[in-house]
Amino acid sequence: MFALFLAVMGSALAGQADVSGYFRVAARPDLQGGAGRLGYWNLYGRLLNEGSYGMLELRYDVLERSPGDKQPWSRVHARIEGGSISNADPLQGNLGAFRLSQMYVLSGNVLIDNVTWQVGTLESFMGDLGLYDMRPATVFFDTVGISARYESRYLELLVGAGDSGFKRYGTSYNALPTVGGTARLRLIEGHLELGGGGEAMVESAVSGNVHAPYQTPGIDYEDWIRGEVGERYVAEFGEELVDYFPEPESRTSGARKVIGYLGFGGAGPLVWNNFFMSYGNELPQKSTTEQLLGRELRLYVHDFTDERTTLMMGNELQLRLWPERLDMVLGGLYGDQRDGDNDIVPSDFDRTFMSSVLRLQAYPTETVHLLVETSLAQEVSRNGNAYREHSDSIFANNRGTPDTRGLQYGDADTRNTFQFKAGPVLQPTGRGIFARPSLRLLYGTQYSNQNNAFGNSFVESVDQYNDFDNVEQHWHHVLAAEAEVWF
């Protein structure tokens, strides 16, 4: 990476290449036994809930673009990013935490004017929910291939095709041909935009390919959840028939996703409002393993995991309440994940979540600002308890009667979270709620009905032989000095 950086910087002097990027680093000593993050995830707002991050975007102009003409041009982009910075997280800035996440070549005005061809990674989004650092209206997140983007004053049109197999399966690669596209209309330039699109990927049955989708026939969903398929088989057929355990049957699977976007603003105090939505089904899981008479038993579970859907809707509103004195951003997020195969066990595939985040940034001076952010969130498990309100939740569950065959976890099916963050912000480049660099001194507090609702190292089991006692706490406080910069 360093060599690549140097190579690019060397030629940057020629004016044909440059480096931009993003860094986020924080010192958050956690005096309550946590790992330096206020809560579990970005649903409560990304501020104080995300860790360190670094990203370098490298660009090289192979054939430089000229302003105002239709000559062909071409450039190469490469992005290196990862979530570790020395002294700021457990990975200590190890380069193993970084990856070449994007690499593509763009060429414009070749064959068709105003069309940009992209070959390589294809990720494309409609926009960002900045308070959450989430982009629901994204296509080709997993895809490498080719796309064409047509842009005119009132229309942006993207079509693409490629393969998503490596991103999804890594070393268990199986081809995932993917097609998709988006369209965005600027109905009133600078004031109203409308967009939509989608993608579809198909995974074909390839008999004999161990990485293709299969289903092991004749097994029961609850046995699979409990990890008792092998045990049930032996009980039913006896150890002598273990070699006749059913062979997997091939399947064809796939995933589809539709996205939508509505943006409007540029009127009065309304800077802009973004609304994004996405709905789609998840690719089925491939296989799990159990032990059967000391041997590994691989179970193929396509049919148990092929009815998982996710709906996400997010809105973010930016207001200039008092010009040059006070800005506000209000965000909302709703998610509904369903698993049509599962009615018995709580899971992240079968839940709803919603939250609202409000950020205010006041500007006493050009460069010294005050930030206040608060959030309210609720997560509900559809299949029973999924959260531990108490350290001894086992005694609170089912009226104090432990259920050793129960599939629930904890003593509550709902997690409610409140967060508040505030502090001074230094922004050398001036005002703006999303202006960077931003140097912040923040205090954050969280209240959750879940016990220790943050990354921690507490003993969770209730065992008389534990060396350490259980700890119950619902408030969490964090102090942070952090910097965030786009450059």
Partner: protein, 238 residues
């Protein structure tokens, strides 16, 4: 009183934020500088003025040095065909825009999507032309990245995002010029007030404020009969 106490640690920060840095150089006397800005596009040949907030920021750099900015209308058509700084200075000379003259040209280019933002490359040129600069205008360039949050934010938003850098660059050019004036390397020429003849001929009527004046075609400067310019003091190099 007690609710105020937690805010006390913030006071030094606020106080520091109020401190304005002093420019490295200031003019010995108040003098006007013609200000021409240009915001180009890679998509077509359209050229407009820089956005108001950027012009204001440039104006502050001038004002803090005892220089009075006098915005001149955008030369949309001529600048659309000529993107180079020297070509554009030539256009202004042909149009008879008086010197000293500050030309700030930016040509932002949309690059790509990056982790939720829309990356733009903003290339700007800053040129100051003045009669006493025998070696030609003082020129500096800026190449910066901007990352607007919204897709609809185009060239103007990209330049606004880097306006602090651009203003700093403008300040450097002005300081360089004023330092040359102060050191006698090239003695400052008296700048003709708008009612007298500028060095390069008649100029469009300058706007009294930093608000955008209407676009003016460069080929038709306001033709006012002007008296002959007064002889300038000789320029001596120290």
């Amino acid at each position: 009183m007690r609710p105020v106490i937690p805010l006390l640690p913030l006071l030094p920060l606020l106080a520091m934020g109020c401190l304005k840095p002093t420019p490295a150089q200031t003019s010995a006397q108040q003098q006007p500088v013609r200000l021409v800005t240009a915001l180009g596009s890679y998509e077509d040949q359209a050229v407009d003025d820089l956005p108001d907030d950027v012009i204001d920021r440039i104006g502050q750099e001038l004002s803090s040095r005892k220089l009075t900015p006098e915005p001149v209308g955008v030369f949309a058509k001529a600048f659309g065909l000529r993107r180079g700084i020297e070509e554009r200075l030539g256009v202004l000379e042909e149009a008879g825009i008086a010197q000293p003259l500050l030309l700030v040209s930016c040509d932002p280019r949309y690059d790509t999507q990056v982790n939720g933002r829309f990356r733009w490359s903003v290339d700007c040129d800053v040129a100051l032309a003045s009669p006493e600069l025998d070696g030609g205008p003082i020129v500096a360039d800026l190449s910066a990245a901007a990352h607007p949050v919204y897709y609809h934010q185009r060239e103007a938003a990209a330049v606004s995002e880097v306006s602090a850098l651009l203003a700093r660059k403008v300040g450097n050019v002005l300081d360089q010029w004023l330092a040359m004036q102060g050191s006698g390397v090239a003695a400052p020429a008296p700048v003709a007030p708008p009612t007298t003849a500028p060095r390069l001929g008649p100029a469009p009527v300058p706007a009294p404020t930093l608000k955008k004046p209407p676009a003016q075609p460069p080929a038709q400067p306001v033709p006012e009969p002007e008296p002959e310019p007064e002889p300038e003091p000789s320029i001596e190099k120290g």
